[in-house]
């Protein structure tokens, strides 16, 4: 029984498409103990590899630059940015939507793929969820600082205050506050809850008293009890069921910020699904950017298999085409509506002063993922990595194009203007990547990056089927 009975072919790769055989999700000769060992070893190394120190040093420095930029901005005012009339939103909101979008893949993988019983999620869900949380932290920062007087941000929340005023719930900007903060809270719950059994594993393996105490506190006294597992699984299923509409709602609400306004180019009913598809697209691209090097460096190729990468490439291809379809429909509707302001905005998008940004977006988001029609491309980590980077660039430009090209050509030609970011805005964007990677590198070092308990459950099923 067990591993020995699995087809020899499956031990090396799991890319077969025979519908009669379920492709194994764990490659190599693994049992529960070797999986624990493989994942825990990364956390238990007395010293991380040199490359980790180098990466962490760079990321931390860039985060420091971000801190300096925030200090400069808050102490001086938003005048240090290139915003003007009528372009009141520039890099700040572009970065916000970009990061929130990236934050969608994690919960999508954990919740939606869980409900659809897509077991291949187990290899990648943990670090995709971590990525979600760090991306939402980066995202949340931008609306917080773009308000100008960041020390008054508590006005955004329905807190009793000295002015006896309440926020305006009839504004989508306030819905956004609720959507993003709920999403952040629920994502952390989901991530942490999934990690409790794995933290207990680390607690039980460590020989250090201090580590045992710290991991022990966060493992909450978990001891693999089946009475606990019963409630745990029920709670996890419910969290997934609750988080699924939440994921879809968050980027829909973000799109309401635009869609409920009367700006040509924003006032469109296609925005919610279009934004959600774009978020999944960009999020999966970021998962690939992180997964391709991580599985290589940390020896996790048996758990994050070529099939995992291939599945994600297929999702990129599908969501990339949804995004491409949305671009096309926007153009069609701008013509079909007969609204001259609407028609002008779209012609201007493609051929006006920001045409370079528009075509960068189309090239990165619509053209490059098409290479994934080829099986060879879906299996080549270099191509996957390259396309994923391209998609991230493209998705950033998508938000830039939506925000800036609509704003810079208002209804009144007398108020038309151009927007150029200042060095502060560019450095803040770069700095947000520093923050993201700093948090992610800390996660890789101190927390189990693969959901061991879930992989073991999948492995158990695999062994049963191989019998």
């Amino acid at each position: 029984m067990g591993v020995a009975a699995i087809d020899r072919r499956d031990v090396r790769d799991n890319l077969g498409d025979d519908p009669g055989r379920r492709a194994p999700l764990v490659l190599g000769k693994h049992d529960n103990a070797t999986i624990t060992d493989k994942v825990c070893r990364i956390v238990e190394m007395p010293k991380p590899p040199k490359a980790w120190y180098v990466a962490f040093g760079i990321a931390l420095t860039v985060t420091g630059v971000l801190g300096a930029m925030l200090a400069y901005l808050i102490s001086t005012g938003v005048g240090v940015w290139g915003l003007n009339k009528p372009i009141a939103w520039g890099f700040d909101i572009t970065n916000f939507v970009f990061w929130v979008g990236i934050g969608h893949a994690g919960t999508l993988i954990s919740a939606i793929l869980y409900l659809f019983r897509q077991n291949w999620r187990t290899g990648i869900n943990r670090f995709a969820e971590a990525m979600t949380i760090f991306a939402v932290i980066c995202a949340g920062m931008f609306p917080g600082i773009h308000t100008g007087r960041a020390w008054l941000d508590y006005w955004l929340f329905p807190l009793p205050n000295q002015m006896a005023m309440w926020p305006n719930f009839r504004s989508p900007l306030l819905w956004d506050v609720f959507a993003v903060s709920t999403y952040m809270t629920v994502s952390i719950c989901f991530w942490y809850m999934g990690m409790i059994p794995d933290l207990a594993t680390i607690r039980d393996r460590t020989t250090s008293k201090l580590k045992g105490a710290i991991y022990g506190i966060f493992a909450l006294g978990w001891r693999g009890s089946n009475r606990h597992w019963h409630r745990y699984e029920r709670a996890y299923l419910l969290l997934a069921a609750i988080a699924t509409p939440l994921v879809l709602s968050v980027h829909s609400v973000v799109s309401f910020d635009f869609a409920t306004s009367m700006m040509p180019g924003w006032h469109a009913t296609i925005f919610p699904p279009y934004f959600v598809a774009g978020a999944i697209f960009g999020g999966f691209a970021m998962v690939l950017v992180l997964a391709v090097p991580c599985r290589q460096w940390f020896g996790l190729k048996d758990l994050i298999t070529p099939r995992h990468l291939e599945n994600m490439c297929k999702i990129l291809l599908a969501t990339g085409m949804m995004v491409g379809y949305a671009y096309a429909i926007e153009f069609f509707i701008s013509w079909y509506s007969g609204n001259p302001a609407e028609g002008f905005v779209f012609i201007n998008r493609a051929f006006g002063p920001y045409a370079w940004a528009y075509w960068t977006m189309v090239f990165c988001n619509v053209a490059t993922p098409q290479v994934f029609w080829s099986r060879r491309a879906r299996q080549n980590p270099w191509i996957i990595f390259g396309v994923a980077i391209c998609v991230n660039v493209g998705m950033w430009f998508e938000r830039f194009v939506i925000i800036v090209t609509s704003l810079h050509r208002d209804f009144l030609p007398s108020s038309w203007n151009m927007y150029f970011p200042t060095w502060v805005e560019v450095t803040t964007l770069v700095g947000s990547f520093g923050l993201f990677f700093t948090l992610f590198l800390l996660f890789l070092r101190f927390l189990p990056m693969v959901a061991m308990a879930e992989v073991k459950a999948v492995l158990q099923k695999q062994h049963h089927e191989a019998r």
Binding site: F169, C189, P197, T201, D204, N226, L238, P245, A457, Q460
Partner: protein, 179 residues
Amino acid sequence: MAGDRKLWGLVAEFRSADDLIRGAAAVREAGYTRWDAHAPFPVHGLDDAMGIKSTILPWLVLGAGLTGCSLGFLMQWWMNAVDYRFVIGGKPFNSLPTDIPVMFEVTVLFAALTAFSAMIILNGLPRLAHPLLRNARFRRATDDAFFISIEASDPRFDVAETEQLLRASGGTLVEWVEA
């Protein structure tokens, strides 16, 4: 048993998840109530073998979700239509369509926090120590080993008889656990 520490119970190791299910069925049939099975992952079929009753957790989550939804509505109605009324864009003070996104988010927030905390509280967690966690071999319960533990406080517990049952139902290496 060393010293005069009290006996907490017995713990037996099982070779595989399938053995664990068979063992659990046997312990249940013998009429024990204060016992548990331990595995590094949720074992399919073990709930039935142990006769675990469905948890009330989903109902708590439903209740919390409905509470959140109502509170979300009441908050917006009270803040914008009662306590601090102001006209903006000619919109009605209380406008249900614009209340829906926030009602939804608050529903989700309450339901999710309840699912998370109810799981922990109903499981009797968090706890910093447990007699089982002091057993060196039991540490593998979160790695690759399967165990059944029977508490000494169980009315049917009898050291010799219980140990015999654990061995007969497929358990290996039965150990005493001190309280």
